[in-house]
């Protein structure tokens, strides 16, 4: 799966949590979940649970802490998919 495909999948996942429609429309690899998409920090764990379900992967605590933006999410998802 390439980066564009991953971003498209991520868009579907984060959509219900996004509080900034403009940021969502312009979501790129460089978007930050909290600052650009205005996702409530408490909801980040829900985003991660949805990612786990969608990609059938398990994300450990240390990786979770790093998943604050699209780039980190893609890196972690890619790494976990490669481990499979």
């Amino acid at each position: 799966m390439n980066t564009e495909e991953l971003i498209e999948k991520l868009k579907v996942i984060v959509k219900p949590y996004v509080k900034d429609e403009e940021g969502f429309k312009n979501m790129t690899e460089n978007s930050d979940f909290l600052n650009d998409l205005k996702i409530n920090s408490a909801n980040l764990v829900d985003v991660i649970l949805d990612i786990e379900t969608e990609f059938d992967i398990i994300i450990d605590n240390e990786s979770m802490e790093k998943m604050l933006n699209v780039k980190a999410a893609i890196d972690i998802i890619t790494a976990k998919l490669n481990e499979k």
Binding site: N40, S41, A42, V45, N61, M64, E65
Partner: protein
């Protein structure tokens, strides 16, 4: 004319000590009550440490009768009864098994959840079609007001008997609600406080939110680190704290020991607007709450000697310090002393404000500022606001402690702040 309200009794069941003499010694000496619990590990919790009051079967039987202990499985109520009965006795009040209720005494005793273990036990019985085996006390142990109902029955309270619930503000809120009732002349005495259940069914949701630390499972006593740069989430805990509040005239009439006075306080909410959300505080609301408490107490911000903070050991500690600094208009060297009991007890949730207020009042009466442990590596964002010396890393014994501000903040974007003053006869 409002009645003056004083504190004439204290009781506590805390993770680091049960009972006032042991608790006083524990907090003066910086003793942690955080321990490792294999049960949490076995259930795949990220955080496997917690603060749970150590209560023996023998101690239980000193507070509850064999009949009350039959099918009893509600540890929050147990801790609340220990703290509440102790506070009542400490105030020198009698327990009359017979005769009239005490129409002048009531209780506001809070909790977050009640009897969650009992609920779980009940769910299994109900699902198996065995509802009749729930017995006669399943309701009493699991209704939110269970704790106030138990205390009322044991002590014979005949005034307002109720339970408040407002997340981590619960304990602090209960004190202010009792204070207002005595102030307005509707009661002479109010037993106030909060209690909290423990165990995986209370803490699971917090673990899933990743707000509890998972980085210190191998060093429990170092795990709760308010204001530290290595703070990485709170440590879950349970217990109860209780204060017997009384009108000054009633206390004088009885010749009761007076631990301190409540000058005033404030409670508000941020409406989950601005920086506020279900889980984050609206900073403007926090600052307003502190300012309103000071105004209600009729003092000047410069008179505050010590802040007993909410300070849970999350990334929000620096935000809290900044809110205090803005609200008091004091910073650097001019900032009052500030400490967090949670470093020793963990976060007692619904009981937190009550347990911490008991600690505050003990310091006021006995003349000491307990150490804020596990803060040797102060967070730079905090050091940028206040002088590092304002966080006592060692016990301070002093006769100059006159005014303490105690605040609690809770999920739902709610705030409560109390101003305690040394009682000068």
């Amino acid at each position: 004319m409002n009645n003056r309200v004083v504190i004439t009794g204290l009781g506590v069941a805390a993770p680091n000590a049960v009972g006032i003499p042991d608790f006083t010694a524990a907090i003066k000496n910086g003793i942690s009550g955080i321990r490792y619990y294999q049960q949490l590990k076995d259930l795949n919790f990220s955080c496997c440490i917690a603060g749970i009051p150590q209560v023996s079967e023998e101690l239980k039987q000193q507070y509850l009768s064999p009949l009350q202990l039959k099918n009893f499985n509600s540890n929050g109520i147990l801790y609340g009864c220990i703290a509440g009965i102790d506070a009542w006795k400490d105030a020198g009040l009698p327990i009359n098994e017979n005769g009239d209720a005490d129409w002048d005494s009531g209780t506001v005793f809070g909790t977050g959840v009640s009897g969650i273990e009992k609920l779980r036990e009940s769910f299994y019985k109900i699902d198996a079609g065995n509802v009749k085996t729930l017995g006669s006390t399943a309701v009493l142990q699991t209704m939110a007001s269970g704790i106030s109902a138990y205390l009322s029955g044991i002590l014979g309270l005949g005034n307002l008997v109720t339970t408040n619930s407002s997340a981590c503000c619960t304990g602090t809120e209960s004190i202010l609600m009792g204070f207002e009732r005595i102030q307005s002349g509707k009661a002479k005495r109010m037993l106030v406080g909060g209690c909290s259940d423990d165990g995986p069914y209370v803490w699971g949701g917090f673990d899933a939110m990743k707000v509890m630390t998972y980085k210190h499972n191998d060093e429990p006593e170092k795990a709760s680190r308010p204001m530290s740069v290595t703070a990485s989430g709170f440590v879950p805990a349970s217990g109860a704290g209780a204060l017997l509040l009384e009108s000054l005239s009633s206390a004088m009439e009885r010749g009761a020991t007076i631990y301190g006075e409540i000058l005033g306080g404030a409670m508000n909410a941020g409406g989950q607007r601005g920086t506020g959300s279900m889980t984050a505080p609206n900073n403007e609301a926090v600052q307003r709450c502190i300012k309103e408490a000071i105004e209600n107490a009729g003092i000047d911000a410069s008179e505050i000697d010590l802040i007993n903070g909410h300070l849970t050991a999350t990334t929000k500690d620096a935000t809290e310090i900044n809110n205090w600094a803005v609200a008091l208009n004091r910073k650097g060297e001019d900032f009052p002393y500030i400490h967090s009991l949670k470093a020793m007890t963990g976060h007692c949730l619904g009981a937190a404000g009550a347990v911490e207020s008991v600690a505050a009042v003990l310091g006021l009466h006995d003349g000491f500022i307990f150490p804020s442990i596990n803060c040797e590596d102060l967070h730079p964002d905090i050091a940028a606001i206040i002088s590092a010396e304002k966080i006592p890393r060692q016990l301070i014994e002093t006769n100059n402690l006159q005014v303490i501000a105690k605040a609690s903040f809770g999920f739902g974007d709610i705030n409560a702040c109390i101003i305690f003053k040394k009682y000068n006869a």
